[in-house]
């Protein structure tokens, strides 16, 4: 008997959870108010597809704008802070500490500044996602192997060439890891801020339906957010695979014998 692959096991567990989701409320093990059956949730989602679609568009717009801010500003500030020693020593400890602050407590201030529309969500989620992007960019630049830079200089690289051809490619893996985390935090930031104070978006649908105890519609919104996160993850993975061929390429081991010129064997 062959052992099932982890992938197969994962799918089996996923399928089992879906079955449980349907069976537990149907069998009366949990009231439908707590967990509405999967089919009922999906039915509501289909019925209200125009509402959910419109809400998703709002959320997507906010996420996209916030990611642009988080990634753009994060990479820029991270590059400067990581590259300039004095700035690094001055700012990095501060940024690292700020990262630990639950920024969500600042959200009321954001609504005061930007109102309860999309702007406050974008600003809040942008700040939320900024920190991991900025910190990993700084780390990526700071941890570049000195030898890479020395070699490039010995080959006559100018500063712009050094940046474009060595520093940027060398820091891509760390920056991508930060983008992945920052992107996920941006989605969280948008949804959470929508749940707190707003009149549109998926997060708003969760809160609104929660207050009227319409559980299937709450869960339908949750499914949409889950789908959003999964799609984001798939996109990031695809980008990583494309960019990091040199890291993920099959670790074929080259045999030195294959290259050693035959005449050496006679020496």
């Amino acid at each position: 008997m062959t052992r099932p692959s982890p992938r197969a096991v994962r799918r089996l567990i996923g399928l089992g959870l879906l079955v449980l989701w349907e069976a537990v409320p149907r069998l009366g093990l949990l009231p439908e108010l707590f967990v509405p059956p999967l089919t009922k949730t999906l039915a509501v989602l289909w019925l209200d597809r125009s509402i959910y679609g419109a809400a998703l568009l709002v959320t997507l717009y906010e996420v996209a704008a916030a990611m642009l801010i988080a990634c753009g500003v994060g990479i820029l500030v991270g590059a400067v802070v990581g590259g300039v020693a004095t700035l690094r020593n001055l700012l990095l400890p501060v940024f690292s500490s700020l990262y630990a602050v639950p920024i969500v407590i600042l959200y009321p201030i954001f609504t005061a500044w930007f109102g309860i529309g999309s702007e406050s969500k974008i600003a809040f989620a942008g700040v939320y996602g900024f920190f991991p992007v900025m910190l990993s960019t700084a780390a990526g630049i700071r941890t570049i192997d000195e030898q890479y830079l020395l070699a490039a200089r010995s080959m006559g690289a100018t500063l712009p060439q050094l940046i474009a051809r060595v520093i940027i490619p060398a820091s891509i893996p760390t920056v991508l890891a930060g983008l992945r985390l920052g992107g996920a935090l941006t989605i969280i930031g948008v949804v959470v801020s929508e749940m707190l104070t707003s009149a549109s978006g998926i997060g708003y649908l969760v809160t609104m339906n929660r207050t009227i105890l319409d559980s299937p519609r709450v869960f339908a919104a949750i499914i949409v957010v889950l789908a959003l996160s999964v799609v984001f993850d798939i996109i990031v993975r695809a980008v990583e695979r494309r960019t990091l061929v040199w890291q993920t390429a099959g670790r074929r081991t080259a045999s030195p014998e294959a290259v050693m010129p035959a005449r050496l064997a006679t020496v």
């Binding site: 192997d145 030898q147 890479y148 020395l150 070699a151 490039a152 200089r153 010995s154 080959m155 006559g156 690289a157 100018t158 060439q161 051809r165 060595v166 490619p169 060398a170 891509i172 061929v245 040199w246 890291q247 390429a249 670790r251 074929r252 081991t253 080259a254 045999s255 030195p256 290259v259 050693m260 010129p261 050496l264 020496v267």
Partner: protein, 268 residues
């Protein structure tokens, strides 16, 4: 015979010198004030010569190499490479091969080799052809598409040598290029380097910790001392070329090795 002729050239001879160092000194600002790192370094390497520098850690041999490469500036004295001073790196005059594989992991072998040509905006076809020719020279034809992590340690250093030679500089500087390799690969690489050297007639300045490697490779071994770094001895190695592994077992080889070892050991 050619080597014997070169050996007879005196220290004063400067015509045809590929590398010429006069009264070089270097002082760096340490924690306890100024520390002399190098003093009174005079070095004259005629074109086509293979010179090996040995010395204890901290004798400044790597600093000296960095200065020859234009990567660091000396406090005093002059350095002429190919007859001109070298204030900034010039890969068309000096190629450098570093200890650790300083290849870029995001580039394939051939892309690594052509990197210096990319920096000079050479046409794509031209630089690719040149890089392929260099890979061929170091015995790696057919491996151009591999990424560094797909190559063995010895193969990576072959790529580094190919990269150092791609602009056809008259001088090749090597900073302990085989130190990270296992003994067997190291011997093979030494032999390969001599083959490449004899095919390209470059001037080589090579740093190592291995006295066997030094005697095996060199026309002349420069022995340095630490704190401050200065030249203790210049040992001509008049073993015939091509060198063979059998020579290592000879008395002459052993005596040369012993002479160098005594000087390094006697330094406190």
């Amino acid at each position: 015979m050619q080597h014997m002729a070169q050996l007879s050239l005196g220290q004063e001879q400067s015509q045809g010198a590929a590398v010429e160092v006069r009264g070089l000194g270097h002082i760096y600002a340490g924690r306890d004030g100024a520390v002399p790192a190098l003093t009174d370094i005079d070095l004259n390497v005629p074109a086509g010569r293979f010179v090996v520098i040995v010395g204890p850690s901290g004798c400044g041999k790597t600093s000296l190499l960095m200065m020859l490469a234009g990567l660091r500036t000396q406090t005093s004295g002059t350095i002429l490479v190919d007859g001109r001073s070298i204030a900034t790196p010039d890969p068309s005059r000096v190629g450098v091969v570093f200890q650790e594989a300083s290849l870029y992991p995001w580039l394939t072998a051939v892309e690594n080799v052509e990197f210096p040509l990319v920096l000079k905006n050479a046409p794509r076809d031209e630089r690719r052809a040149r890089a392929e020719a260099m890979l061929n020279l170091v015995g790696l034809s057919g491996f151009g598409g591999r990424y560094p992590h797909e190559l063995s340690g010895g193969m990576k250093q072959r790529v580094s040598i190919a990269r150092g030679l791609v602009q056809d500089p008259p001088v090749l500087l090597m900073d302990e290029p085989f130190a990270a390799l296992d003994e067997q690969t190291r011997m093979t690489m030494g032999h390969e380097l001599l083959r490449i050297w004899s095919q390209t007639s470059k001037t080589v300045v090579f740093i190592t910790h291995s006295l066997t490697e030094a005697v095996y490779l060199a026309d002349e071994v420069i022995v340095m001392s630490a704190r401050p770094g200065r030249i203790l001895d210049r040992v001509p190695i008049d073993l015939p070329r091509p060198r063979t592994y059998q020579m290592m077992a000879t008395d002459v080889f052993g005596a040369l090795r012993e002479r160098i070892w005594h000087q390094i050991r006697d330094v406190p």
